[in-house]
C-alpha cells in the first residue's frame, strides 16, 4: 500500500482517499461531492488533453482539474 496524490493515479486504478488537504471553497466543494477520507474512488479516464480527470465515487462520476486533484491523497495497492 502506498499513498500518492490523485493526479498520479492511472486510468482504471482505484484506491481509498486518506486526506483532503484543501480548505476554503475548494475544500468545501471537494467534500460536497463525497471526496472525504475513507471513500473509495477509481479513475474513469482523462480529458483529451489529460486534464481534467474523471473519477467514479459513490456510484457517480465526477471530474476534477489536475491542480485540484493534487490536494487529494489516495492510498493505492502496489501493483
Amino acid at each position: 500500500m502506498t499513498k500518492i496524490s490523485l493526479r498520479e493515479m492511472t486510468k482504471y486504478q482505484s484506491g481509498v482517499i486518506t486526506a483532503v488537504k484543501a480548505g476554503g471553497e475548494l475544500g468545501q466543494r471537494i467534500r460536497d461531492m463525497g471526496l472525504v477520507p475513507g471513500t473509495e474512488i477509481s479513475i474513469r479516464g482523462r480529458a483529451p488533453l489529460y486534464d481534467p480527470v474523471a473519477l467514479r465515487v459513490m456510484g457517480g462520476t465526477l471530474s476534477l482539474r489536475n491542480n485540484e486533484a493534487d490536494y487529494i491523497e489516495v492510498e493505492v495497492d502496489d501493483a
Binding site: S14, V20, G23, E25, L26, G27, Q28, R29, I30, R31, D32, M33, G34, V36, P37, G38, T39, S42, R44, G45, A47, P48, L49, Y50, D51, P52, A54, R56, V57, M58, G59, G60, T61, L62, S63, L64, R65, E68
Partner: protein
Amino acid sequence: MRNELTIALAGNPNSGKTTLFNALTGARQHVGNYPGVTVDTKEGSYTKGGLSCRLVDLPGIYSLSPYSEEEVVARDYLVNQRPGVIINIVDASNLERNLYLSCQFMEMGVPMVIALNMVDAAKKRGIEIDHERLSALIGLPVCPVVARSGQGITELMATAIAHAQEHDKWQPAHISYGDDLDAAMLDLSTMIEEGGFLTRDYPARWTALKYLEKDDRHLEIGAKEDHALSSRLLEKVEQVARHLEQTVGSEPDAMIADHRYGFIKSILKQNVVHRTMDPDRLYMSDRLDNVLTNRFAGPLIMLLVLLGLYNFTFTYSALPVAWSATFFSWLGGVADTFLAEGYFKSMLIAGVIDGIGGVLGFVPLIMFMFFGIALLEDTGYLARVAFMMDRVFRIFGLHGSSVMAYIISGGIAGGCAVPGVMATRTLRSPKERMATLLTVPFMNCGAKLPVLALLVGAFFSENQAMYMFLFTLLAWLMALLAAKLLRLTVLRGESTPFVLELPPYRFPTFKGLLIHTWEKTWHYIKKAGTVILGISILLWAMMTFPGLPDSERQVFENQRQEIIRQASPQLPASPEDAGQAGPEARAMQKDLLEVANAEAEKALRYSVAGRIGTALEKISWLPGFDWRTNIALVGGFAAKEVIISTLATSYSLGEVDPEASDSLGETLAKDRSWDAVKALSVIIFVMFYAPCFVTVACIVKEAGSWKWGLFSMTFNTLFAFLLSTMVYQVGSRLF
C-alpha cells in the same frame, strides 16, 4: 401571511428536481424574481384530490455552503420564507452523496420529506433501497417516486402535506461530529440560547454549527445582530480549532463534513441498500463515455455535435425569422399606406414597428437555441463538453462550458450574441460566466457579416473567402484575449473550483424540453422587449431630430418643383404609374429620387446622430473614420446591419438592402477617402465595438445590473478604437 401551504423542492443538480416540479405543477408555473439575484426560483401550484399547495423549486445545490449564489438563495429562502415543509429529492442510484445535502437540512431542522427519485433506473443498475428502513433510521418520511412517469407523486404530496401539518416547528437533528466538536457544539449552543442570539430565525444548534464551520455569511449576520457575543463565539471556535489542529491535524469544517458522511454511511450500512451487481461494473453510460470522451473520437464527435446544434439553431429558425420579418415589413407597409406623413408615422414605422420586429425577430432563434441547449444539458452531454474543453479555456481564465456561448454567438460565423449571452446560464462559476458573457459579443454574428461582406467585397475582392475565415479566427483570438484581460483586471481572482458532476446519460422528456424552452423564451420577450422598444424609439429620434430647418427644406422643395415643371405636363404625377410611362417620365422620377436622397443625407447630418458623428471626427481621424462612417457606427448600435443602410443614406444612395449592397460597395470603392487600410480599420471596429442594444439589454439582465451593460459598451468601444487606430496608423504608413 398566506394560509396556503408552501412546499419547497430542494435537491442536487441532476437529481430530477425540475422533472418532479414539472410533473407536479404542469404548466402552472412562473419564475419568481428576487431583486439583485440572477438565480431563478420557480413557483407553481399543485391541486389534486382536495389537496392544494404552492410549490417553490429552489436552485439545484450540493450543500448549504455560503460560496455560490444558488446556495445562498436556497438558504435565505428557507429562513426568510419559512416553507411548511421541504421535499428533498434524492437520486436513488446516488444515495450516499445525495444524502449529504439532506443531512444539512436535518441539521437545520426544517420539516422535510425525502423523495427517493429514479428508483426504476436504480433497479436496472442492481440497486434496491429499503425505503421503509431508511425512513425509520433517519426519522423522516421517505417516498419512492419516478418523477419522469409520475409514479408515486400523489402519495408523495399527500405525505408531505400531512407531514407539514404535524410538524410546524424546526427540530434540528443531533448528529455527532466527534467528542471535541460535540462538546464545543454544546457550549456554543448554550451561549447562543442564553443570549437569544439569532434564535428568532435560526435554531441555536444551526448557528453553533455555522460558527464552527466559519461560514462567512452566517458570521456576517451574527456580527450585525450582536457584535460582542459574536466575537465571544468566534473566540471559542478558535480555541477548538487550535486544539483540533494540534491533536488530529484537521479543521472543524473538514471534520464536520467527514462526520456527516460517517453518519450517512452508518445508516446505509444497516441493510438499507441492496446491491445485486458489482458497483464498479460498466454501465451503458460508461460505455458511451468511452467513445464520447475518447482522446481522438471525443473532440471529433463534439465538433460534429456543436456544428449540428449551430445548424439546427440557425437553419431551422431561418424560416420563422423570415416570416416574422415579412410580417413586420408588411405591417410597416400598411402603416405607410394608411397614415398621414409626419413624425408620428415615421416613429411608428422606424421606431415602434422596427423595434418590436427586432425583438420578436430573435424569438425563433432563441427558442431553437434553448431547445438545442436543453437537449444537450438534459442528456448530460453538456457536462462532457465542459470536461473536454476545460483545459483549453482555462488558459484564458474561462470554463469548459464557455465554448457553447462562443459558438452560438458567432464562433462559427453567423451566430447571434443575444442567445449567446443567454447561453452563459449553463456556467455555474460566476467570474468565468461574467468573462464569457462580456466577450461573446466579439464574435462575428449574422448581422456583422453583411457589413464585413460589403467591405471585403469592395476592397479585398480577390480572396473573399480567405478574408472572411481570417476574420472569424481573429474574433476568437480577440475574444479569448479580452477574456484573459478581464480575468486579470476587473474580474480578477482565483478560478472557481471546477469539481463537476458527469451525470449518467439520460433520455430527456419532451415535456421538460418544451417547458424549459418556453420559459427562457418568454423571459426574453418580457425583459428585453420593454428595454428594446424604448431604445429603438430613442435611436429613431436621434436620427430624425432636429429636422432640417424650413429654409433648407424649401431649397429641396424648389428643386422638386423645378424638375416637375420642366417635364411635360401630361406626365403621370404619382410614382406608381411611372413604371408604365415613357423614358421622359422615368428620367423625371430618377431626378426626383436624387433630390430625395440628397435631402435625406442632409437631414441625417443635421440630426442629433449626425451631429454626434460630425463631432466625433475630432477623435475618429485616428482610426481614419469620417462623419459618414461615424453616423453609420452610431446607427449600428441599433443593430449591426443598420450600418449599411445608414452609410447608404449618408452617401445619398437612398434605401439600400443590406443583403444586396452592390451599389454601396461600388460607391465606396470609387470614393477617394476610402482605401483598403480604412476598410480594414472599419471592419475591425465593427467586429469589436459596443454590442447592439438588444445584446446590451441581455447582458444587463444576465449580469444583474446596468453597470455591466455600460461596462460592456465602454470597454468594447475602447478596445475596438485602440485596435482600429493601430491598424489605421500603422497601415497607412506602410502602404
